[in-house]
Symmetry: C2
Subunit: 413 residues, 2 copies
């Protein structure tokens, strides 16, 4: 299974193969396996940015006729193309951090009890919850999750039974292991407390289906699998039935019912728009539209199938060639329980990552303490990319090349 | 004084005249007097956007080596070029609304008492403070300000004497009248409560001099006089001496001391960086750099002098020609007490605004209930622009053309 011709066959049969041509590929030698951190640049985004910049230059303030509802229009696009949500349930605005803060604080306003999260949640999520716990005088209950398999319903149930709970906040796909949480089972285990999901590592990589799965609240970033650009604004989802009950802690003029009748006291807008705060960064929204369109065109089923097949290839090569070199699989074995990245753990992970980048033209991503993350965004990753990257990885470790790089201090890659 | 040749002479003698050529001017017929709402596009911003987009496409995640400290680097640039603050006191991030929320909540953490603001503060500021008052169970004490002259030190003193005060939050330049507040007198009147200033309508228009004036805390937008683009990220200033005492309510990974050592509990970064939250929108930061550079190149003294001279021309033409047509000056008469916009009040203000845009190719800005705001950003506004715009305005009202437009419902212009 793990010879190159097998990967070539998979590429030849790939219904999504042509999507790679829709992205900027500057250096074909380099194999980029970090789209789970920052997605590639869609070629159409350049044109969209130019259009928006032209509109700023020519229409000036009148451009706001078109821009004023962009956070809602892009939200509806994501709802339909990526999130499986209904119109009027999603906005694109602020960062994931700020959006999680807004939703979590809004729930704290309506419910007593602890804030529950797990030990494997993404750092910024844990920091936000820690800050809310201090500010609101609530217990922050962090339950331990198996780093490999992510949070399980029984863990959530146990944590919630330990005392009154305001809400549970978890990542849909774990940032290190790529483990995919079962949203429905976990929601049932947490009930009546709502779950706020962070979809940053799942949106655009695996089906999310918020409506069908009865999800209450969610946030997520657009710069990973949605390819919207570095730091592009994040999304925020509130299920229709909950919208009128929740109120943002950050009351701003974009969330006011009558934004331009400036005499009135604050009155939250109807619907999810009430979670807007200040003026949204229009140029940074350019990439969200093009990124979401590509996902819609590819289709959620195709994306899921290809991501599973790509990550299965990593697992197969791991078993055949990498396990004997000191690697351990840091992700679930069952492809149905994984997102679109696979973690390989190794005692020399940091030095290996450095050597891969500097000597082998492979860009993975390192996560403390010992994870090499290999992201395989299905829109532009080829099976031969996976084969070649792991071949270079194996050769490098077989030769001991990673022992020769200066492993230096930790830094962002 | 108010014939066209006078305006032509002023243009000929204007040391900043050449800066107009550094901006995109798509339709020379249209006179744009709404740069106080959305500034023009600097030509250099196009190139900077292309560079950043190229870096995303080619360096991909490695682009973060350059981007990671952009909020602080741009903050230092603004500190030096525009705000008169010291290095390490300013960051560019989030919106003005979110930044005000963060600073105000941080102060509430350290001080008891009421939140004090005035009736003329910008709506989003009042909404933020109202939300904090609810969330923190604090009195929101709104004192009445003379709409024409803005908040005065004696008003602030009286409001602060009415009971314990956590902080005072005011706009440096009033959004409707353009009245410029005396930051030093007001700070003395508020003491020991700190004042949080919103500099949105002053930064880039009048000297701000935060260090020299002993200002404690401030926020402001970059898309007005700083020409950074629609919804470009805002700035946040914390005086060095206060930084270690304040803690953001929105704890995110960009404000964490060890951002990429993900195992650790939240520990706020040193300095103003602790007020960063989520991942900043890199493409939207492109305009901040070019906008700030232009301000720096022009020089604060030149900008102040030209803004005063432009607004003096509006006042002179008002007195000679507009007062007899039902206009009233809605801004202070003393140019030293004004920002870079002048408000003209009129009973038919809304219909006149519509007619100006639709029939006279003049773009002003309407603010409820009866204000026509004329912004004169000194970098690109000519004296003949002011003359011609007010000539068209007077002619239009003399003829009664504004009675013929459909004055329709309120909308953003």
């Amino acid at each position: 299974m793990t010879d190159r011709s097998h990967a070539e066959r998979l590429d030849a049969e790939d219904p999504l193969a042509a999507f790679r041509e829709r992205f900027a590929i500057h250096d074909p030698e380099t194999i980029y396996l970090d789209g789970n951190s920052l997605g590639r640049l869609p070629l159409a985004t350049r044109g969209r940015l130019t259009e928006l910049t032209d509109a700023w230059g020519s229409a000036l303030v009148r451009g706001w006729h078109d821009w004023i509802d962009l956070p809602e229009r892009l939200g509806d696009l994501l709802a339909d193309a990526v999130l499986g949500a209904r119109p009027g349930e999603v906005i694109v605005t602020d960062s994931t951090t700020v959006n999680l803060f807004k939703l979590a604080a809004a729930v704290l306003d309506t419910r007593t009890g602890a804030i529950v999260t797990d030990s494997e949640n993404f750092p910024t999520d844990r920091y936000v919850l820690d800050g809310l716990s201090r500010g609101h005088g609530r217990e922050l209950r962090v339950f331990d999750t198996d780093p490999l398999n992510g949070p399980q319903a029984e863990d959530v149930k146990r944590a919630c039974q330990a005392g009154d709970v305001a809400f549970v906040s978890l990542s849909h796909v774990a940032y290190r292991s790529g483990a995919l949480a079962d949203m429905e089972q976990i929601a049932a285990a947490a009930a009546p407390a709502p779950v706020i999901w962070d979809l940053s590592h799942s949106a655009g990589a695996v089906p999310v289906e918020l409506e069908q799965r009865g999800v209450a609240l969610a946030v997520g970033c657009t710069y990973k699998y949605l390819n919207a650009g570095p730091g592009a604004p994040a999304f925020l989802y509130v299920r229709t039935e909950l919208q009128e009950r929740l109120r943002t802690p950050i009351q701003g003029w974009f969330g006011q019912r009558h934004q331009f009748v400036m005499e009135r006291p604050y009155d939250p807008a109807s619907g999810v728009r009430r979670f807007l705060a200040g003026t949204p960064p229009i140029l940074a929204l350019a990439g969200v539209e093009e990124g979401a369109k590509l996902i819609a065109e590819a289709g959620a089923g195709n994306l899921r199938d290809k991501a599973a097949a790509l990550s299965e290839l990593i697992v197969a090569i791991h078993d055949e060639r990498l396990a004997q070199l000191g690697f351990r699989l840091g992700s679930p074995r069952d492809p149905a329980r994984r997102g679109a990245h696979v973690s390989l753990a190794h005692d020399d992970a940091w030095a290996i990552c450095r050597a891969l980048i500097e000597r082998a033209k492979v860009v993975p991503d390192f996560r403390t303490p010992d994870s090499i993350r290999l992201g395989v965004p299905p829109l532009y990753t080829r099976f031969t990319d996976v084969y070649d990257a792991l071949d270079r990885l194996a050769t490098l470790v077989e030769r001991g090349d990673h022992r020769e790089v200066d492993s230096g201090p930790l830094r962002v890659t």
